[in-house]
């Protein structure tokens, strides 16, 4: 009953397995729109993802050449000298298409758009180029939810687990 073709992703409702598979396989994340300001959401997400073992490379023309949380920032995705697995976008929905094009160009496997960010046209192009796409989600929140860590804040993780292990 299984098919070899890519499953059609429902961008309104991602399965836990879909999100989990992405968070398990990526190592290097380029964060477009990463802020150097400690009280911005992107800084929160970058710091958390670093704690979970991801390498996060900031992309922000205003910070290019400077460091954020110990990582050198670049002006554009195409300037990053190492292989990037996932591109995480802290940008407005209308700013996504050129970022998606660059993500395809640098061989990223995942295009991720943050909470409140959605661009279906860019998503379609990225998927056509073989990338997995997530829109309107935060990887920090999803990691915290699937690991049940976010439950410490009373958040409904929707995860039921009868095992001792906590893993995403």
């Amino acid at each position: 009953m299984t098919t070899a073709t890519l499953e059609k992703i429902d961008h309104e409702n991602y399965s836990d397995d879909y999100i989990r598979s992405i968070l398990r396989k990526v190592n290097v994340i380029a964060m477009v729109g990463a802020s150097a300001n400690w009280n911005r959401p992107s800084y929160f997400a970058m710091k958390y993802l670093q704690q979970k073992g991801y390498r996060v490379i900031p992309v922000n023309p205003k910070e290019a050449g400077k460091e954020i949380l110990g990582e050198r920032a670049y002006a554009a995705l195409t300037d990053i000298p190492v292989k990037v697995d996932m591109v995480d976008c802290f940008r407005a929905s209308e700013a996504i298409p050129p970022i998606a094009e660059d993500a395809i160009k640098i061989g990223a496997k995942v295009l991720w758009m943050q909470l409140g960010v959605r661009n279906d046209e860019a998503a379609r192009k990225a998927e056509a180029a073989g990338l997995q796409v997530v829109m309107n989600r935060c990887p920090k929140i999803e990691y915290g939810r699937l690991s049940q860590e976010i439950g410490w804040m009373g958040v409904n993780t929707r995860v039921i687990n009868s095992k001792r292990q906590r893993r995403i």
């Binding site: 959401p41 710091k47 802290f90 959605r118 804040m153 001792r164």
Partner: protein, 442 residues
Amino acid sequence: MEPKNKAVAASKRAAENASPYGFDTLQVHAGTAPDPTTGARSTPIYQTTAYVFEDADQAASLFNLQSFGNIYTRLTNPTTAVLEQKVAALENARAATAVASGHASQAVAFHMLMNPGDHIVSSSKLYGGSITQLGVSFKRFDWHTTFVDPDDIKGFADAITPKTKAIYAESLSNPGGVVCDIEALAEIAHKAGIPLIIDNTMASPYLCRPIEWGADIVLHSATKFLGGHGNSMGGVIVDSGKFDWGQNDKFPHLSQPSPAYHGLTFWETFGDMAFAVACRAISLRDLGPAISPFNAFMILTGMETLSLRMRKHCDNALAIAEFLSKHPKVAWVSYAGLKGDRYHALAQKYLPKGAGSVFTFGLKGGYEAGLKFVDTVEIFSHLANVGDTRSLVIHPASTTHRQLTPEQREAAGAGDNVIRLSIGIEDVNDLIKDIDKALNAA
């Protein structure tokens, strides 16, 4: 450089809270998992005030709300977190924050929404203690409440002013058996750009899930049916995650940089869990009514049998209401589960599985008959609480409403002939015999 259109995000994510599991599975399993260190299957009671930081950097991250973790039990506790997740899952909500009592849930939730001079439009059919809290004590914070009869839906819209920050009502009111038209109230609130807050204590999420009818925030006195055994105080604030706090400038504590967190903006940073997080990180932190971990444990243990108890509570209550309605000593019965009751149609819509187990009836004999009734019952306990496994009774005119004039008692639904029952889960035939004996003595 930050994401915009959070409103779209919130509404699109609303459906996402729905669980693939049934209610009876969630009430047992939601929020719980074996303890990773010891393998303990029952939720451990983490009876601790504070938690050791991994290092200075992790400590700073926790205080900045950048990491998920525990600092101090006034803010979070792993036992309490299980209770919070369980209630959030059963209410089909995004998140919940537990506090020391139902009253504390009201104080904390309104503290997050209100500024001095602000206003609440509330149903007049609330638990008496809530009427006093909103109508009298909140005035000292310069928070003002207009009470509207829940039968007068248009009255809620008429009472809204530019300072109004919420509409408040009980899904099933205590003690009158009044059922609120949640869907109609949600429409009025959302048109005004304010949230609908529903106290769902009397119904519990097994009988009614207000968020599915448009409520944005749900409050509970967990002391009642959630815990269910009359042994522990607790309250819960439930955040649907559906309300757009940035749609207007009415909620600066959520939509503007917070001076209590060095300019962090809760709505932007936490999105659809912003209200629950802010209730914890600001109002619970600074007002201080934390629930004890032991009470959280007692309540979450009680919740594992919520649906079983509620079914028995409702079956018993309906049988007793039917018995009373035919009894020659009884003048009237106010129970929305009875055919012919004025709230029966609304109960069919919002509480199809049962109209709860707290209701009032009137004795033909008046004040003295009421005293005789509560003194004669042997299984029913004469006390001021509801939502216990045990059946409870009170004569409001001689107790909770004693200080009022006869006219005020009548207006409050606590006239001289009124008896309030909270039907437990005992054998219904024993309960009926106990009532019959007391009625014949009254």
